[in-house]
Structure formats: structure tokens, C-alpha cells
């Protein structure tokens, strides 16, 4: 009984000290931000970040092994402090999750304390450092001596430690380069999304074709006064098909009699089907507005052709181009001294790897839509990715074991 009370007292003391340390780290962090004018932490890039990682390990591992019996070190690697630091990370993240994280989002003292750059700020970094120290110590104790029963703990915590430590330190080596490409032209330059400085890439990319598919167009009422589009009374984004009937509360009813996905207008005023590069969508509608009948061809228009629409009272009946369904770039990548010439397609959700870089389909000229001659790719180079992924997969393994052991322990399975 006395032992139990003593343990509870120790635990309470551990919590009090943990809260104190967490608050102290935040105060120190915010003070540094205030004194440096909200500059944040500038992490060193390779190999400085590797040295920093090795330094962390060379402090954590010997401390854990040599001072295992020390009450202070036990507290440093214990759950009460860990819990306080989890709360501290969560609270700081809440600031970062509520306030926009960009320049100029906050002003005055909040900007000076780094509230708009929370995740590279001193308080966040110091709390994360302490958190990594706390997890690191407990990990060493679970690893030495190794027992099979500790595998779940080790996988989950080591996975978290590795992905956090290497993800944060490795962010200094992360390069994200926006590469504008134009059809029929080659480029080996991009600009850094962080600083907008030009970067020469170790390969050149020739854009053969920018390909885009759209969903079918939609009919909507446009109110020029509010500049808003009104969906029909069922609040549905109808994809146009022949036979589609629509109604609006203003007493407008219509039916689509003809739909040509790609067509051109003849001088006679009757559109004719055309190939998909040149044509635009046309629909023929018939209906009633305010008791009066109307019928007309409508078209979305294109950068080369004016749209066709109908005035119905104060509003306009328009054909809105469908949203993007799929867009990709057919490219030829030339990597001198590397793999030579690579013909491939860069698609959304399907990046292409080349010479340590990954190329992503990022965007296009949105004003031109599917007539865009421009494609924006993003090149990403992240040398720390394999180790961060190793951490992720360890976490997934640990998580699975946690599920399995937890279900056994609680007799669910």
C-alpha cells in the first residue's frame, strides 16, 4: 500500500515537472523568436543535418545506457514527461492549424513570435527535440536487452522517431522545383517554389503534348448581378446528355434535344461535329421561361470562339465547360550521362522518377483549359525519403502488432 502511494506520488511529481519543462521550453522558444524578430529555426542542410542527427543519437544512447538507474534520466525517458510533451506538441500544432501559415497572415506580436510559421519556430523545434529525446531514451531501454515482447513498442516508437527526426532534419535538403513547359519546346530549368530562384536541372524535358479530358459540360443560370451560377432546383450538377430535363424556381423549364461534345458552327447557324482538338461542346435546348417558349443552340466557347448563350429575363442560360477529369503531359526526357532518352507520360497521381528526382503533373494554363499549350510539372528531390519511408513502414508494422496484441489482451479476438 505504501509502495503504491509512493509510486502515485512519484507519478504526480513526474507530471508536475513535465508540465514545467514543457512550459519552460515554450517560453524559451518564444523568447528566442521575439529576440530574433521571428526568424524561426534555419536547419542546416547536408551534411550538417546528418551531424545533428548523429549528435542526437550520441547523446541519447549513452545517456540511456549509462544513467539508466538515475531517477532524473528515468523521468526524462518516462511516460509522464512524454504525455506532457504530446500535449505541448498538440497545443502548438493547434495554433498552426488555426492560423494560416504564410507570410503576412498575422501581424504585430503574433508575427514576431512566429505564429504564422509555427512548424519551423523555436518553441515547436525545442518541444519536438525534447519529445524525440524522451522517445529515444525509452526506445533504448526497450531495445537493450531485446525481448520479443517489446517488438511492437520498438517498431512503433522507432518508426515514429525515425520519420519525425529524419523528416524534420531532411526538410533542409528537400528541393521542390516548378518546371514550366510549352508544347514543342524543351526546358531544363525550373524555379524553387520556396525562393523563386532559377535552378538548372540535370535533365531536359521536351513537351510533346499536353492532354486533357473534361467531364461533360453543365447547363446553369448565370446571374450577371451577383456573378453567380445557379444550379437547377434539385441542386444537381447535371452532366449534359440528350433528353435531359431541367427546371429552375424562376419558372424556367427546358429539355436538351441535341448534344454535340465537339463541334464547330457553320455559317448557316447549324453546328457540325468536329474533331476533339478543334471542336467545342454545343447543345440545342427547347423550353419555357415565364410562360414564353424559347429554343436555341448554346456553346461553351473556347479561347478562339465566343460562347453562345440565351437571355432569360434578368438571367442568362449558359453552357459551362465541364471540370477537368484527367490531365497529363506526354514528354521526352533527356538525361545526359544517365538513362538517355525516356519517352513517358506524367500524370496526376502517377509521377515519373528520373535521376534522383520525381516529376509530378502539377498544373496547366487554366484560362486556356484543354487548349492549354503550357504544362506545369513539379520536380521533387528528397534524399531522406527512403529513411522516412522506412520509419512509416515500421510504424505500420508496429500499428498492426498493436492492434493484434491489443485485441488479444482485451479478449476481443
Amino acid at each position: 500500500m505504501v509502495g503504491k502511494q509512493h509510486a502515485a506520488g512519484m507519478q504526480r511529481q513526474g507530471f508536475v515537472s513535465g508540465v514545467f519543462l514543457s512550459i519552460l521550453l515554450c517560453v524559451i522558444g518564444f523568447s528566442i523568436e521575439f529576440m530574433t524578430g521571428g526568424g524561426g529555426v534555419a536547419l542546416p542542410s547536408w551534411p550538417g543535418n546528418l551531424y545533428l542527427l548523429l549528435l542526437m543519437l550520441s547523446v541519447i544512447i549513452p545517456t540511456a545506457l549509462l544513467f539508466r538507474e538515475s531517477r532524473f534520466v528515468q523521468w526524462l525517458g518516462g511516460i509522464p514527461l512524454g504525455l506532457c510533451l504530446i500535449v505541448a506538441v498538440a497545443v502548438l500544432s493547434m495554433f498552426g492549424g488555426v492560423l494560416p501559415q504564410e507570410q503576412g497572415a498575422v501581424t504585430g506580436w503574433m508575427e514576431r513570435l512566429g505564429f504564422n510559421r509555427m512548424f519551423s519556430s523555436w518553441p515547436f523545434s525545442l518541444v519536438m527535440l525534447a519529445f524525440l529525446g524522451n522517445i529515444g531514451l525509452s526506445l533504448v531501454w526497450k531495445c537493450v536487452p531485446f525481448r520479443r515482447a517489446n517488438l511492437q513498442f520498438i517498431l512503433f516508437h522507432a518508426g515514429f522517431w525515425i520519420s519525425m527526426a529524419c523528416g524534420l532534419l531532411g526538410s533542409a535538403d528537400l528541393q521542390r522545383v516548378i518546371i514550366p513547359l510549352y508544347e514543342g519546346r524543351s526546358s531544363s530549368q525550373g524555379y524553387l517554389s520556396s525562393s523563386k530562384t532559377m535552378v538548372e536541372l540535370p535533365f531536359s524535358i521536351y513537351l510533346e503534348d499536353f492532354i486533357m479530358e473534361e467531364y461533360p459540360p453543365q447547363l446553369a443560370l448565370y446571374d450577371p448581378e451577383t456573378m453567380l451560377l445557379e444550379l437547377d432546383e434539385t441542386n444537381t450538377v447535371h452532366q449534359v446528355t440528350e433528353g435531359l430535363a431541367m427546371s429552375w424556381p424562376e419558372g424556367i423549364h427546358l429539355k436538351v434535344l441535341r448534344y454535340l461534345p465537339y463541334a464547330m458552327m457553320r455559317p448557316s447557324g447549324e453546328p457540325v461535329a468536329a474533331d476533339h482538338k478543334a471542336g467545342v461542346p454545343y447543345v440545342f435546348v427547347e423550353g419555357q421561361a415565364g410562360g414564353r417558349s424559347f429554343s436555341s443552340w448554346l456553346s461553351t466557347g473556347s479561347p478562339y470562339e465566343d460562347p453562345l448563350f440565351v437571355g432569360l429575363g434578368e438571367k442568362l442560360l449558359v453552357l459551362v465547360p465541364g471540370t477537368a477529369k484527367k490531365y497529363s503531359s506526354r514528354v521526352r526526357i533527356d538525361e545526359p550521362g544517365g538513362n538517355g532518352l525516356l519517352e513517358t507520360v506524367v500524370d496526376v497521381n502517377a509521377p515519373v522518377s528520373i535521376g534522383g528526382w520525381k516529376l509530378y503533373q502539377m498544373g496547366y494554363d487554366e484560362n486556356a483549359g484543354r487548349w492549354s499549350k503550357q504544362s506545369l510539372l513539379e520536380g521533387v528531390r528528397d534524399p531522406w525519403l527512403p529513411i522516412v519511408y522506412a520509419g512509416f513502414f515500421m510504424m505500420l508494422g508496429g500499428n498492426f502488432l498493436f492492434f493484434w496484441n491489443g485485441m488479444k489482451k482485451t479478449k476481443v479476438l
Binding site: G97, Y215, T234, K326, P351, L385
Partner: protein, 265 residues
């Protein structure tokens, strides 16, 4: 079946759940009401399941894009958690909380009708779409049930009595929910790398997903320290609020304007 028919399905399910709950209350005194209660509760859930399936077929894509669509799944899945808990531990009360929560989320959908839109933006056309969102939804459902169980424990232990059976249920559901939250978080990071070039960009949705994960990570560590049961149950009840911010509250925060996780029409 589309959003146009949704009110019929929603009111139908809610009425069946209400009738089932009333029959459940009556069964405390008269056991002959047990079977009708169970049948009505199941019937409500079947209405939502059938609606969801027909909606999926009609919309030609997994109905997991908009918040309204995720609430549909939520309302369909959460009573199932109640049924499973009842089947496994013979605990009858959880299912009533679950149908109440399901009704609440159907009601939110009725108040703010979704735009029916078949389009699926290219960023969402990925093999990760269904596993990432479904794993998260199951996690949210389990954690909501855990909060409901915790609220029940707080109600039952108000006069100082212990109720270990109840706190065991809230703990198991929180543990399971955390497992799904972890899978969802890591799957999300792996998908973000393929879609947006980096696994973590501190996008507001990512930040709040991490906060929600940390909240339940905190719970598990506090539980390991055997912190007082009532305090833990309060923690689970309040933890659900953070989960709600992460799920849809984040859209109303000042930070939302810079989020890439906005798939509303």
C-alpha cells in the same frame, strides 16, 4: 438513388431507429419488445446501407468525396459498431448512442444539402482514395462510439460507483479507433507523396489529423499510467470534439483558405 431521394432514406432510417429505440426502452419492462427493437434498429441501418449502395452505383465513383458523402458513410457504419459491441460483449446500451449519433449526422446532411456531382477531380483518382478515406471513416466511427461509451460511463458513475464494463468498452473502441487513425494518417502521407510531391506539408487538414492522432496517443499513454477512470472518460468525450474539427470543422477555420483538402462543390 441520389441526393434528391436522400430525404426519404434519411427520414425513413431515422424513424426506424427512433421506433427501435422506443421499443428498446419498452423492452426493459417487457422482454417481448426485444426482438422488434432489434429488428427496427437493423431495418434503419439496412435502409442506409441500401441507399449508399444505390448511390454509389448511380454516381459512378466512390461516394467519398464531399463531407456530406462521408457523413452518409458515418451514419451507416456507426450503428454497426453498436451491433458488433452488443454481439461481442452483450452490451445493449451502445447501439442507442450510435443511432442517435447517426441521426445527428443525417440531420446535418438534411440541413445543408450536398450538391449532387458525379465529377471526381484528378487528384482523387488514385488507388489510395478508397483505403485512405475508408480507414479514416472507420477510425472516426469507432472513436465516436468510444466517446459515446465514455459519456455513458460518466453518467453511470456520477454517484461514485464504479463501472469497469463500460470503461472497458470505451477503451477497446478508442484503441481500435487509434489503430485505424494511424493507418489513415500514414496512408494519407504515402498518397500525398504520389499526388502532391511531398508526404507532409502542414496543410491544415494534415495538421488537424495529427492533432487528433496526438490526442488519442495521449489517451493511450494516460491509460498506461492508470490515470483515474473518470478523468479518462472525460478525456475521451472531449477528444471527439477535436476529431470533429479534423473531420469538418477545419473547413471553417481561418487556415482553411490555404488547404488543398477542399473537395466541396
Amino acid at each position: 438513388m441520389t441526393w434528391i431521394e436522400f430525404p426519404f432514406a434519411a427520414y425513413g432510417a431515422m424513424l426506424l431507429w427512433l421506433a427501435g429505440s422506443l421499443a428498446g426502452i419498452a423492452s426493459i419492462r417487457n422482454r417481448s419488445f426485444e426482438l422488434p427493437a432489434k429488428s427496427l434498429l437493423w431495418a434503419g441501418t439496412m435502409v442506409m446501407t441500401v441507399f449508399l449502395l444505390l448511390f454509389w452505383i448511380e454516381i459512378d465513383r466512390p461516394p467519398l468525396r464531399t463531407l456530406g458523402e462521408t457523413r452518409l458513410w458515418y451514419a451507416t457504419l456507426i450503428p454497426l459498431v453498436g451491433f458488433l459491441v452488443e454481439y461481442r460483449w452483450k452490451v445493449k446500451w451502445l447501439v442507442y448512442y450510435c443511432v442517435a449519433l447517426a441521426s445527428l449526422f443525417l440531420f446535418i446532411n438534411l440541413l445543408s444539402p450536398d450538391v449532387y456531382d458525379k465529377a471526381l477531380m484528378p487528384a482523387l483518382q488514385s488507388v489510395w482514395f478508397v483505403p485512405h478515406v475508408v480507414v479514416y471513416l472507420v477510425g472516426y466511427v469507432l472513436l465516436a462510439a468510444s466517446s459515446a461509451a465514455a459519456a455513458h460511463v460518466l453518467w453511470k458513475t456520477g454517484d461514485g460507483k464504479l463501472y469497469p464494463e463500460g470503461s472497458r468498452i470505451s477503451h477497446i473502441l478508442a484503441l481500435l479507433g487509434f489503430v485505424f487513425l494511424t493507418f489513415g494518417l500514414v496512408f494519407g502521407a504515402l498518397w500525398a507523396k504520389e499526388a502532391w510531391g511531398h508526404y507532409w506539408t502542414w496543410d491544415p487538414k494534415e495538421t488537424w489529423a495529427l492533432i487528433a492522432w496526438l490526442v488519442y496517443l495521449g489517451y493511450l499513454h494516460a491509460n498506461a499510467l492508470q490515470v483515474k477512470t473518470r478523468a479518462l472518460q472525460w478525456y475521451l468525450v472531449l477528444g471527439f470534439l477535436v476529431l470533429l474539427v479534423s473531420w469538418f470543422g477545419v473547413n471553417y477555420l481561418p487556415s482553411a483558405q490555404q488547404s488543398v483538402h477542399s473537395y466541396q462543390t
